[in-house]
Subunit: 245 residues, 2 copies
DNA sequence: CGGTTACTTGAGATACGTCAAAACGAGTGG
DNA sequence: CCACTCGTTTTGACGTATCTCAAGTAACCG
């Protein structure tokens, strides 16, 4: 079942553009503060900028993990699917996030582009070798993996112990935090939602109808405003009372 | 709310026994195949064997993370709780597992002993410094963290997209795999369940009644046999059909 | 502008939760 | 060794949040 889409990946890899890696530069800098100018240049030498159209597949579960990605722009969707088609989205990597940091030889989940995406792509073996030579960087990557683990555990908490309302409110708040890169604030904020309702539903472990209804109700209660490509958070207070974590 | 149990931790730390670290030795060896005899000895020098009684607290969310633990024996329970008391268990570390590998300065979840537990305890700063000097080991720890991330994502999949029956079947199967350390087999197997029904429920995001009912039904259908301290898996086939992942 | 896909909305079904009581098991003390 | 207690697990009856199915509407794209 994974086989034929593996071909699809080959196809899109083949259409990659080897542009200059200025985008990679910007992105990598943040992670590699530990690295010297010289090292950073060397790392960039290993990077290949690759673009994917919306809905294009980066890879599928079971593929062998040829590459490590660092997202430069756009939104990616990571997910696993059960044999009967039920799908669970496990993350939405965005600019700055890494994919495949585990350095495992085969992929344990699928990834495809929600929006047009550009990434820095490293050969896994080259990246791994580079890491062997730069312990500083390895430690940064470890911290990065720890961050991912934290996110995953947040999701476990949300899926296991929150109501549908709380799940949706939590989701919006997480996206807001990520958008503004950390600094908190309760001011109204526009949150783009590049992913579909179905994606959100599959991330939160509910149905698309539940997501839709909940968002509409939030809007009716003036907690948010729904606009074409996202929402504006006005006051989620009454809904995320239990969603502080 | 976390404060007074932090004291409890201090108390139990105070009652620690500084036994010889032969247990640590055995445990650490598996992880540190990369390490030479000399290095391993040095690492052991940093370890302190600590024991906890059943139900004793290792640490609480918000505490500062003074230590990194490697479980030598017993079962630990990791969890987070919402303000209103809802609890989500995020893992049951057992012999060989690490706790606190993220090296974060403060704990993002609580941990306490399900059974009597003994661990190797490292000072976080010492451990971190040691890691800086032994990139090999750092890489092994990174792999370890990746394993944790994989487990967490399995849990996300289970909580988000499996029915109660499938959750319970999945849980039993995961515990069986862990018990027999990897090698698969569909032979009947005794699976100890040191944790309470409530713990299982909070791990799977269901209620204690649902866990109890489901296990009883499995037993009635001869999929398992329930015994005082666990279950014997006879044939989970019909229940984990969708739980292969 | 027509066709297609995504989103919304409603009405009815159900898996699981809630509440309450009974059964069981591990310890404790007589 | 038995009786008693306390905490855990089991079982039942009932309620409801969320799912399912189905139809309608809006947004998008060629």
């Amino acid at each position: 079942m994974n086989r034929h889409v593996a071909l699809q990946e080959l196809t899109c890899t083949r259409t990659q553009t080897r542009v200059d890696c200025s985008g990679c530069d910007v992105r990598l800098r943040s992670v590699c503060a530990a690295l010297g100018e010289q090292d950073l240049r060397e790392l960039q030498g290993l990077a290949r900028s690759v673009s994917f159209a919306a809905k294009e597949t980066l890879f599928l579960e079971g593929d062998d993990a040829a590459g490590v990605f660092n997202v430069v722009s756009g939104t990616v969707r990571l997910y696993r699917v059960l044999e009967d088609g039920r799908r669970q989205v496990i993350g939405f990597p965005m600019a700055g996030d890494f994919i495949g940091l585990d350095l495992a030889p085969t992929r344990s989940f699928c990834a495809d582009a929600v929006t047009p995406v550009t990434v820095c792509r490293f050969s896994r073996s080259e990246f791994s070798e580079f890491l062997d030579r730069k312990p500083q960087l390895l430690k940064a990557m470890h911290a990065r993996a720890a961050l991912e683990l934290g996110r995953s555990r947040d999701q476990v908490l949300a899926l296991g112990r929150r109501s549908a309302d709380e799940k949706v409110a939590w989701f919006l708040r997480v996206l807001r935090e990520r958008g503004r890169c950390g600094e908190p604030s309760d001011a109204p904020a526009d949150v783009p939602l590049p992913m579909s309702r179905q994606d959100i539903a599959d991330f939160l472990g509910v149905t698309i109808e539940t997501v839709s209804r909940t968002l509409q109700r939030f809007a009716r209660d003036a907690a948010i405003e729904i606009n074409p490509h996202g929402v504006r958070i006005v006051d989620l207070g009454k809904w995320d009372g239990f969603a502080r974590d």
